[in-house]
Symmetry: C2
Subunit: 214 residues, 2 copies
DNA sequence: ATTTGTTTGAAACGGACGTTTCAAACTGCG
DNA sequence: CGCAGTTTGAAACGTCCGTTTCAAACAAAT
């Protein structure tokens, strides 16, 4: 407890984020993680207690960044603006959060990659992710949609519309294996942020209003 | 070559469909498939030549059923009907195809489960699946959307709208791990086929029309 | 400098997997 | 019945995985 063991541990954690994000939990091997971190195979068990504990550490590590992002977005959202404008802001922020890449290679942010891997292959940790990543933004969207529709948030049509919108948000990620293989592949959202956002806003608003007179 | 080896081979194939559909290619084990089929571990290699060859046999086996379904749906689609009506028919048919369960336990048809597994964890076989399952229906949808929008099918807005619609079709499947874990879980589409179809048609038509004057 | 506690490294363990082996059982045919 | 070809079954093989072991290297404190 006297020295700076943080170096190896942090290197290991960073390597684990990269490997888990690209391969998923089961396909990732501790040997590859250790090799990428320049550490010994036993390092994972010594510093974290095992592969599963390392994975949980990764989830907690990326979660604090996501929560900060959500707080930042939440503050920007003006509660007094009209609901339609708030929907636009909501969609724009989510699109930016998901698809804006700070990294040079244009790859998705690792926490979204890991999130997708969990959805595709759910483990016990998905409950934690939904509770902390998904629930609050989803409730927020439901409130906005309910206000546009002028119905209570418990109305089933609100849930339907909210899911249609969340679906459109995550689809480019989920469907990428498909769209990349089609004869007319979809251009990467990362390269068309503004255009994609604009389409989503118009299409979604049009869809919601079409559900209005019920 | 004189006897009916078809019995063991077919039992093995049926078991493989079930196991691959629930676990995916990598997570599925030859031992479990053989155990479910009441066959020896060596049976897979003897009858199919290995796990991967068995998987390809499964894909080809379920593909002939899917192609028959698509032909049946294609015949029903009246080319002379107005585009909006054809969109409604298209959506209704796809929703039924995907979510209507003939099996008693309400589980998704196995070919869709396997398809989803491939999307989540793409292998070389996904190219085959996209080419034969996805490409034609996707082109069909693009034609319908282009007609409603009164623009050529090559217009980018057509692709955007078509993807928004395909996204809504597959979302309940893909997002199920999420929606099941939320405080307001979405009711299973299987139990609300008509309601879900109606929402999708109205929402999508509203969305498309909102993109019209562009 | 010696001791004490912490971190690393090479090697091995135990288990699960796909696959192979080969003898036994079975089938159809003369 | 007896034989040839086909199919099965039990056991083992080789590989890769996560994990454990334990001695060596290291850092800090007396």
């Amino acid at each position: 407890m006297y020295n700076n063991d943080a170096n190896t541990k942090n290197t290991l954690l960073a390597a684990a984020v990269r490997v888990f994000a690209t391969k998923g939990y089961t396909a990732a091997t501790v040997r590859e993680i250790c090799s990428l971190a320049g550490a010994n195979v036993a390092a994972v068990n010594y510093h974290f207690g095992g592969k599963e504990a390392l994975y949980r550490s990764v989830l907690e590590h990326i979660f604090i960044r996501v929560q900060a992002e959500q707080n930042r977005a939440g503050q920007k959202l003006d509660a007094n603006a009209p609901a339609e404008k708030r929907l636009e802001t909501y969609i724009r922020q989510k699109v930016e959060d998901i698809y804006q890449t700070d990294n040079d290679d244009g790859s998705i942010a690792s926490h979204w990659a890991i999130f997708l891997m969990e959805v595709a292959n759910p483990s016990n940790n998905l409950d934690f992710l939904v509770e902390n990543y998904v629930q609050a933004p989803a409730d927020e969207l439901r409130a906005i949609v309910a206000e546009i529709l002028e119905v209570p948030a418990t109305d089933p049509v609100v849930l339907d519309c909210a899911l249609s919108i969340w679906g459109q948000l995550l689809d480019p990620l989920v469907m990428m294996p498909l769209t990349d293989r089609m004869t007319h592949p979809r251009p990467r959202v990362q390269d068309n942020l503004k255009q994609f956002t604009e389409h989503m806003v118009r299409f979604s608003l049009g869809g919601i209003k079409a559900m209005k007179n019920g």
